[in-house]
Symmetry: C2
Subunit: 201 residues, 2 copies
Amino acid sequence: MPRPRFARLDPEQQENILSVATEAFAAEGFGVSYNELIARTGLSKGSMYYYFDDKRDLFLTVIERSMGQLLIAPEPPDWGSADEFWAGLRGLYNTLMAAFQLQPEAAGLSRALIDARRTGQLGDELVAWEERLGAWMGGLLVQGQRLGAVRSDLPPDLLLAGAMALGEAADTWLLTQLDSGDLNGAVDLAFEFMKGSLEAR
Amino acid sequence: MPRPRFARLDPEQQENILSVATEAFAAEGFGVSYNELIARTGLSKGSMYYYFDDKRDLFLTVIERSMGQLLIAPEPPDWGSADEFWAGLRGLYNTLMAAFQLQPEAAGLSRALIDARRTGQLGDELVAWEERLGAWMGGLLVQGQRLGAVRSDLPPDLLLAGAMALGEAADTWLLTQLDSGDLNGAVDLAFEFMKGSLEAR
DNA sequence: CATCGGTTCGACCGGTGGTCTAAGAACTAG
DNA sequence: CTAGTTCTTAGACCACCGGTCGAACCGATG
């Protein structure tokens, strides 16, 4: 997160920095040259490091700002039955995709985030984030198993790895479908794929 | 691939270079410092670049040498029925894992390869390799569909993305199970997971 | 006016992968 | 044996990367 000073900076300048960074990261991913990004803001390197600890700090700030409300809630929701479980999950997906359609740069950032996470370019903060995601997903799977919605015939770590891989593949595929006419149908398909792989049989 | 000169180099020196590189890449992945790797071979930078175009060239050479016979065959096998299809696939997995157990460094290299591919650190050559893998997997899926073994109710690109994600997750998980007692059982589980997700229903 | 904290700036650092030229080694022709 | 040519080696050098740091600047306060 940015140094407290950043809040005291001229709001116009704040907006300038964040919008330049958002555009850069969304378009080119985390791999974009920080030197170049800084130059694009018009600030000097020293000033940039005066407000943000480092590149990751700025990246995460941008992510938080653009996708804060979309990001995984700390607690998985609590559903009462297997049907509710799948319907609720389906609802989460819908919400997410609708939000992506309204904020196109969020989709770009999401791609950048997935990519940077994969790459391991982000240090402790994102490792923590990844653990949070794993824990959230793991909690979800356990809940689903308790409700009899999720299969219990696989080792938990394999199930989790598979679920996360499928989720990521589905997300990535859905991001390619954002502009296709039938987003709802696409979400249906991706979701059915995941459900079919994970549900109790 | 290495410059032709490399073949004319003293075999002992060849072996030295490749084994140092194998060890380095297997242990630390593609991200290992090339400068450091070169220093570890005892060669000068100039000499290294005299024999190999660049880091990727050496990496791919090492991959090819250690895992050449394991890598995807150009043509997917041809099976006659749905049962044969799944049994054949299962057999492929078994062969691969057995080989990994016999050549531990191949497992490390495999991890490095998966990782580098993900990261996009490897340029055209690996993009080509990835396309080959995609085409192979795609061909496999089409064949499976023809035999009624693989589901046909999803868009091909979604099915392919899911299959590759599942395959990668399964591979990665299996690589963590190499030292566990029951490798056969682990392959069973991972394979059943994939099969359950992809088979016609 | 002097001081002093907050702010700005860019030179600088060690690292990366990759290039290039000049010297050395080895082989060939006369 | 020598002169010329080609193959090989060595490491200085390059542009770039993310990140650091001290000097200068600026505005408010005493």
